[in-house]
């Protein structure tokens, strides 16, 4: 994402980072063409005590916000991984322009015995698979952001 020719810089995890991706998604015609996507998705970075809620409605990501773990537990499903794994995922997307074969959301999910996508509701967790192309596209667009990672 460029503003006046300057790429957006944002630190992960932060509301600014998710806002930057949200902004990219909402102005991306290709994202719309994938089709409607309706889900409330949580993001957990437990070792940094960071929690976010991403709301996907119709053809856009309508809201991102920092949240509590309890609120994220009530999302349709949440994506949970330690900070280093998130860093690996986002760095891989940046380096390749999109996730390579070993860093897609689904692959990370199947490699983790506990799962990357988790939910308290078996039906709602299936939204991760039902809209997987949209969520993958969301994270792939983060390649257009200059992401920094706090120590």
């Amino acid at each position: 994402m460029t503003q006046g020719g300057v790429k957006t810089r944002a630190s992960f995890p932060s509301t600014e980072w998710f806002e930057a991706v949200r902004s990219l998604v909402n102005s991306d015609e290709q994202y719309r063409r994938i089709g409607t996507c309706d889900a409330v998705v949580g993001v957990k970075v437990p070792d940094r005590q960071k929690y976010y809620l991403l709301t996907f409605e119709a053809f856009e990501c309508s809201e991102v916000k920092e949240s509590t773990e309890q609120e994220v537990d009530n999302a349709d499903f949440w994506l949970e991984a330690p900070f280093e794994k998130w860093k690996e995922l986002i760095t891989n997307v940046k380096d390749n322009g999109k996730a390579d074969l070993h860093h897609t959301l689904n692959t990370i999910d199947l490699e983790d015995p506990q799962g990357f996508a988790r939910s308290r509701d078996g039906y709602k967790r299936d939204l991760f698979y039902r809209f997987n192309q949209s969520f993958q596209y969301f994270f792939d667009l983060s390649s257009k952001i200059e992401t920094t990672f706090p120590n």
Partner: protein, 363 residues
């Protein structure tokens, strides 16, 4: 050629207007065209929006093609013998899933990055082709089965009919995309499976709920896991995309089945034992696969997954471990969906071989 004077007169003379009925313009029940208009929402003008506030009858004696809410007429020929109760075929998410399916269609010709497929080692290419051969075969069943039930869905519950039609389109696309993958890189279609009793029983189902429980919830749940596994073990971006898109479609079918089962359990609780009986019938053959290490669908199916998951025939051990991990995930997710559907007791009643894979219940 000359035109006769009679014909000429007919052509130049206005015919008398026939006497019109027009009773439909002013029905006796006095419906008025009101100023209430439905506006498109963020998803466009969806069925949920136009149907908001409209009741769906619990029972129907509609045997013609009368659309719901239309006035019936006498002497209309019967068009079919439909299920008479909403509970028989209803799912609360069918409108949503229909609209979603229409929005999220994709093309195997243009949405798959076919140019990312490159020559693979023979064992990996053949394993992928064997998997695709099996999946092509499975998709015949997945398309034929819902097609059999369309004529039995009451027009008063048209949402189910629409959903099944999208499923048939989805399965057609899956059939074609797996065939294309098998043929795209030199491997070709390999061994036909010996379609086992679990798959055959889908076509043999005698009741819609039986079909939905064993196809949508059981079989498609497992196939969805299989597609996700396919994405996991893909060798290129084209295969990744194929399996990811197919898993999305499959999840809609699964979602319909879970919510249909839930609706039946809640509205016809006396059918609980019947539902367990259907699940008993399909869990058995899968448990045999797991016990003896072969698939009822084809003995080569698991082997193909093992080769792909291990990265080749030299890493059989790794492939077996990954297959078992996927199997554990499959069975736990199956149980979680049955929890949502209102059949938590399945945890105790599940086939013992499958039950061995279950994690302890969440508190």
């Amino acid at each position: 050629m000359a035109i006769s004077p009679d014909v000429l007169e007919k052509l130049t003379t206005e015919e008398d207007l026939p006497e019109l009925d027009l009773s439909w313009l002013n029905p006796q029940d006095g419906h008025k065209v009101t100023a209430t208009r439905v506006r498109p929402g963020r998803r466009g003008l969806t069925l949920d929006e136009v149907e908001a506030g409209r009741e769906v009858p619990e029972h129907s004696i509609n045997y013609s093609l009368r659309p719901r809410d239309a006035r019936g007429r006498d002497n209309v020929p019967r068009a079919g013998m439909y299920y008479p109760s909403k509970s028989d075929t209803w799912s609360e998410n069918s409108r949503l899933l229909y609209e979603e399916a229409v929005q999220r269609q994709w093309s195997s010709a243009t949405d798959i990055p076919w140019n990312t497929i490159e020559p693979l080692p023979d064992d990996l290419e053949r394993a992928m082709c064997q998997l695709c051969t099996f999946l092509t075969e499975v998709e015949f069943i997945a398309g034929d089965a819902p097609g059999q039930w369309l004529p039995k869905i009451n027009p008063d519950y048209y949402e189910t009919k629409l959903f099944l039609l999208t499923q048939i389109m989805d399965e057609a696309r899956h059939l074609d995309v797996f065939r294309k993958r098998a043929l795209a890189n030199g491997g070709g279609l390999l061994s036909e499976g010996q379609s086992g009793p679990a798959l055959r029983s889908i076509l043999d189902a005698k009741d819609f709920t039986e079909m939905s429980a064993i196809m949508h919830v059981f079989a498609e749940g497992f196939v969805q896991s299989l597609f996700r596994t396919g994405e996991y073990i893909s060798q290129n971006e084209a295969e990744k995309t194929i399996y990811r898109l197919c898993a999305q479609d499959e999840s809609r079918h699964l979602g319909f089945g879970v919510m249909h089962l839930k609706y039946v359990v809640e509205s016809q609780p006396w059918r609980r034992e019947e539902l367990h009986h259907y699940l008993d019938q399909v869990e058995g053959p899968l448990s045999l696969d797991i016990q003896f290490g072969t698939s009822a669908a084809t003995p080569f199916f698991d082997e193909a997954i093992i080769i792909l998951a291990g990265g080749g025939r030299k890493n059989i051990d790794v492939g077996v471990q990954r297959l078992l991990a996927v199997r554990r995930r499959q069975i736990n997710e199956y149980m979680h969906r049955l929890d949502v559907a209102g059949l938590p007791e399945r945890r105790d009643r599940m086939n013992v071989v499958l039950k061995a894979f279950l994690d302890p219940p969440a508190n």
